[in-house]
């Protein structure tokens, strides 16, 4: 469907937000509904210009709630859809993120995090929405969230997010931050045909036999598109396999268990992280986003001091790599978790270490990146 010129293959000097927008286009996104909010506005602005060029549609909705709903509706209309926001908008989108999870609608939600809480620091970095990414909507559910550390990764992970959302029929979050969003770096965009894309599984049976929520072996149901004759009923109420609302315990048990299992039991196909010298390390720095990048200098200095330190950089933050942390905890003295909040992913690391290793947080209220000295101190304490 896309013409040759849709993907701007080549080497570019792009900011993170622009790279995200180009990543969406390369992934096949042809609908964006958003609302301006610093520091994510450039994603919307870039797509406002680019989407009509590639045959897509951009609409600025009246608020973030409308944006989230519009991308869900457009996904059922057959498009790959995305929205981008920051902390306050992210909070507004939570209810309808739950609708996306419950109706198993593929879409991508980019959160370029900023200082919080509340209006906070609109123009400065934060990473305080990581637990909200996991638990922000009400009710029990599982979600997928990625966290890029550079504009190149922002490009790549946006494509990855679309692929994951189409494959697992769940909204996927890209938890970037203001520094990654606004920094400008070289981004290499590959040719369209070398980009691996996943599309949702459409029905293999006729409309009479189709059940909108009948799962396949991997727990993902086939998704019909509105207007193709399948006459499905899609609801946010607890529903049976036909999609009809059923308000009782059995239906809830069957449906919500499957929604949770869909991600949990397939986690080995979803979880991704990058490791550097973690085997045999005494200290492991576990981080994500810009804080993973700013840990590189303290790690280098610590290695110069003779400490065996490894880096575990989370690509997919949710679902969290529980088993890997558990295994690493058995072999190391401690984890250091620098993040621009007062301890969110570090709580997960602590939980998964099961007491086998100490976990040292390096918190930061927000507004700037970590001072390398503080991270280095934490590494020294962990090694002791």
């Amino acid at each position: 469907m896309e013409s040759e010129s849709d993907v701007l293959a080549g080497e570019h000097f792009l900011s993170g937000n622009e790279a995200c927008a180009e990543g969406a286009i390369a992934a096949g996104c042809r609908f964006f509904a958003g609302y301006p909010i610093t520091p994510s506005t450039e994603v919307a602005e870039h797509l406002a210009e680019r989407l009509p060029e590639v045959g897509g549609i951009f609409v600025q909705m009246e608020d973030e709630i409308a944006s989230m709903n519009a991308i869900l509706g457009a996904a059922w209309g057959g498009k790959k859809t995305m929205t981008a926001t920051s902390g306050p908008g992210f909070s507004l989108m939570m209810e309808n993120l739950g609708l996306g999870v419950m109706t198993e609608t593929p879409c991508v939600l980019v959160n370029v995090q900023r200082g919080g809480p509340s209006t906070g620091l609109p123009t400065l970095v934060g990473q305080g929405d990581m637990m909200q990414a996991r638990w922000g909507s009400h009710g029990p559910y599982e979600i997928i969230a990625l966290s890029p550390s550079s504009p190149q990764e922002f490009f790549d992970f946006t494509i990855k997010a679309f692929n994951l959302s189409e494959q697992w029929r769940v909204p996927v979050l890209v938890m970037a931050d203001e520094v990654v969003g606004h920094m400008t770096e070289k981004v290499t965009i590959p040719e369209q045909d070398s980009i691996n894309l996943v599309a949702r599984r459409t029905p293999r049976v006729s409309p009479e036999k189709y059940r909108p929520y009948e799962p396949d072996e991997d727990l993902v149901p086939q998704m019909a598109i509105a207007g193709t004759g399948y006459r499905m009923h899609i609801t946010g109420l607890t529903h049976d396999r036909k999609g009809y609302p059923v308000i009782n315990e059995e239906a809830q048990g069957e449906l919500v268990q499957r929604l949770v299992d869909k991600i949990r039991r397939n986690r080995n196909k979803i979880i991704e992280y990058q490791e550097d010298m973690c085997d045999g390390a005494d200290v492991i720095v576990c981080s994500y986003g810009i804080s993973a990048r700013t840990s590189l200098l303290p790690i280098e200095k610590a290695r110069d001091e003779g400490i065996k330190v490894g880096l575990l950089k989370l690509v997919v933050v949710w679902p969290f790599p529980e088993e890997r942390i558990d295994r690493l905890a058995g072999n190391c003295k401690g984890f250091v978790v620098p993040e621009i909040n007062f301890g969110q992913i570090s709580l997960e690391v602590e939980r998964c270490a099961h007491g086998k290793a100490k976990v040292i947080q390096v918190p930061h209220a927000g507004g700037g990146i970590h001072d390398p000295e503080k991270v280095l101190e934490a590494i020294r304490r962990a090694a002791a």
């Binding site: 042809r30 609908f31 509904a33 009509p52 060029e53 590639v54 045959g55 897509g56 549609i57 609409v59 909705m61 009246e62 608020d63 709630i65 409308a66 709903n69 519009a70 991308i71 869900l72 509706g73 457009a74 996904a75 059922w76 209309g77 057959g78 498009k79 859809t81 309808n96 609708l99 599309a199 599984r201 459409t202 029905p203 293999r204 396949d216 072996e217 991997d218 727990l219 598109i225 509105a226 207007g227 193709t228 004759g229 399948y230 006459r231 499905m232 009923h233 899609i234 609801t235 946010g236 109420l237 009809y244 609302p245 299992d261 869909k262 039991r265 397939n266 986690r267 080995n268 196909k269």
Partner: protein, 295 residues
Amino acid sequence: MNERHPKDEMLREDRIPHIWCSGCGLGTCLAAFISAVQDSGIPREKMCVVSGIGCTGRVAGYLNVDSFHTTHGRAIPFAAGLHLANPSLKIVVFSGDGDLIAIGGNHFIHSARRNLDMTVICVNNFNYGMTGGQGGPTTPLGSRTTTTPYGNFEFPFSIPYLAAASGASYVARWTALDTRRLIKSMGEALHKRGFSVVEIISPCPTLYNRLNKQGSGLDVLKRYQRDTVIQHGADPSKVAIEKEGKIIVGKFVDIERPTFLDLVKERLGDKFKGPWEKLEPPEVPLEVTIPSADE
């Protein structure tokens, strides 16, 4: 008797009888909608109905078309996304007064402002029925509801006024009693290009009408018969409904106005590529092997 009702082909028969109360006007509104769709010639496959939360919101679950039961107040933005992803679909938003005008009020006015090509059917029973009869944005002044036990202190919205002022290109109001005109009006709204709003005044015998001592559903229909005045082309600013007194119905606004997509096409000119206009049903994929979930 095993005959099939002529409207059953548009209903999900395994869900009938529906949950609405005896004397509720929603079944009548739904029947009128089905008649309008059957008469309109719109292909069934292209029909999509989006509803919100509430008694009226349950309409989506009974219609045998692609139907979406979304969150409270958010039927209109969901429908906006669905429409823009595939403009060949006919999108109808079918929801209640509280859902569309209170929590969904912002989306209502903005989508009317943009003149998105969709039809909004708003059933107005003057309260929040599903949750037990609370007051809402259209509850008349002085009415009793469970959250206005001393009589409503607030002025209500007049939905036709709101719709017209926001830029809707078709605005009409009818009561649930006046079914023939309602069907005709819904048909016009379905064929109208742009944002069309049909408000239907409907009884709520279990809650609003009981709390205000207005009798059964039948008594309320008799009140409509007595008090309804048809004034086509009436000034939308002068059609407010009070607790007692005249109910002005008719087709208030029917104008030609460019839709959102008309303006997009105009502005983008030759930049406007249209692959997203033509939706082909996706090809049924060849044999795929699906890995099972772990464990």
